[in-house]
Symmetry: C2
């Protein structure tokens, strides 16, 4: 399928509602990595993460009739905030299913953005059931955080902007959790660059995407034990084929490597990024030979971190 | 004295060695403060603080002969790093006197920038004595962190850049510690704006500048008990007259207000700033009526913070 024109069109329609985030560089981190790294700062994006791109794009794909009935998602993380804010921006109602054990700070953020919170049990099945009940009751539209083509195309616009400013990148790296950002980035690199390869970084302890990439079928995690709390989820049937076709490699990193890379960016670049989004930079530091002297883009996916629970 | 041309000339000569730092805005913080705030991000400056401006400018004012003999300063903070880096950039030797009780992380940073560290006793007199000994031995030139006209003019270039981008500011705010940044900013505002008033923020617990401003003579602190560790020092005989003549007001804030304002900037703007540099923003939040709907510039002076010792 040819996404070139669709990506352009979707990017144009979300532009009024998102920031074209700045690209930062650091000569110190460049010399440490032995490469030229361009950090696309989605931590400066509205609500602090790239997810608002996909959420807005998904809402804009709905008919007037669908919008009038509202949208629903289940999430304990950034997508709950993104869907709430997208709904507020576009003047519609958002129902957000959150597990009981979601941190209060995240519930507060969703409420701040005007999302109507429905607390479910902690198991994924509880959340899904409650979302289905809301859909039956209100006729609202479900927006999946990562396995939805409009969400994927929306997330891909960060890489498109990066390539518009830096057309000669050899690699773009993203983290991989549910797969939406990775799939969208891979589509943008395929359609808007000559030869830019897309690589994902993934925590070793939740390496479902790495295993899926190599086995050819969607794999799952037994553990959720990583500091990169946005990357615990698994791929979906819509983003996985895109990832199989257009992603070059997935590199796994250890927890200590994530914390060390996060500290480097905080201390040297003076910006706040969340653990999930530092994983690609940790991957570059881990495989320096592969990236030596290359032009690299890294999507710093978000900056929503609980300052009371830092790993250093 | 007419500094207009001197400021221009000094700015031109340091430009190759410093960053013209970005100006960031936040619609959320604007609405919280009820004003339009332009944050001049000196936390993204080389070595993480504005001090490199003054240090480079002071070195460039030296003759070839003086440069050959090196420079010396005493400091446990950002000026030690700034003088070390300025010396390295310009290819000369730096002797840095640091008290025994300076944090190891600061000593390491100075060593990284190539400064030759000399450890003195902890009292200010010990440091001054050791600096004098080094001057006698090597004939090197002393660079005062804040009470030196070239340092003051160098620090003033941050406000000059800000006014070049945003000429219609009603106020520029800086922190005040030793007085170099405040005096330089006041000179720049006087010479490069129509009617921009300069205001300082100062911690209540070390309010020597506030008291000096009102008594007309240089006052000192009995306590050094503030989280804003860069603001414990007192004014000097070179910067104080400039401050008396060109500064509009000094606003004092409590420790809890500093921490709260710091957390707001970290959480909402996703940037890392040190406690000392958040004091002016805390002052704006404290006196909202004064700044209502005004165009404000704030010099975010630095981002060198020990991540292991955060106040939240």
């Amino acid at each position: 399928m040819e996404y070139h024109h669709i990506l352009k069109e979707h990017h144009d329609r979300i532009k009024p509602f998102i920031h074209n985030t700045p690209v930062l560089r650091s000569s110190l981190l460049d010399s440490l990595a032995g490469a030229k790294i361009h950090f696309k700062c989605e931590n400066f994006q509205k609500m602090g993460a790239f997810k608002i791109r996909g959420a807005v794009n998904a809402v804009l794909a709905l008919s007037e009739d669908q919008r009038a009935k509202g949208i629903v998602t289940h999430s304990s993380g950034n997508m709950a905030q993104a869907v709430s804010l997208a709904a507020r921006i576009l003047g519609i109602k958002a129902y957000i299913v959150m597990p009981e054990n979601a941190p209060q700070v995240k519930k507060d953020a969703v409420a701040d953005y005007g999302g109507e919170i429905h607390i479910s049990g902690n198991h994924i099945k509880d959340r899904e059931l409650m979302a289905e009940t809301l859909i039956e009751k209100h006729g609202c539209s479900f927006i999946h955080p990562s396995n939805d083509l409009n969400v994927i195309l929306g997330q891909g616009t960060a890489a498109k902007e990066l390539l518009e400013d830096y057309g000669d990148l050899d690699f773009i790296l993203t983290p991989v959790g549910g797969g939406g950002l990775l799939a969208g980035t891979a589509l943008s690199a395929h359609h808007f660059s000559e030869n830019c390869k897309v690589i994902a970084g993934e925590p070793m302890t939740v390496d479902d995407a790495y295993r899926s990439f190599h086995s050819g079928k969607i794999e799952f995690n037994e553990s959720s034990n990583t500091i990169a709390d946005g990357l615990r989820t698994h791929l979906g049937d819509i983003n996985f084929p895109i990832i199989q076709k257009h992603v070059h490699d997935i590199i796994r990193v250890e927890e200590a490597e994530i914390v060390q890379a996060m500290r480097l960016i905080w201390e040297r670049m003076k910006i706040i990024i969340e653990p999930s989004c530092v994983v690609p930079f940790a991957a570059v530091l881990k495989q320096k030979e592969k990236f030596k002297n290359k032009n690299i883009g890294i999507i710093l996916s978000g900056g929503n971190v609980d300052l009371s629970k830092l790993p250093f």
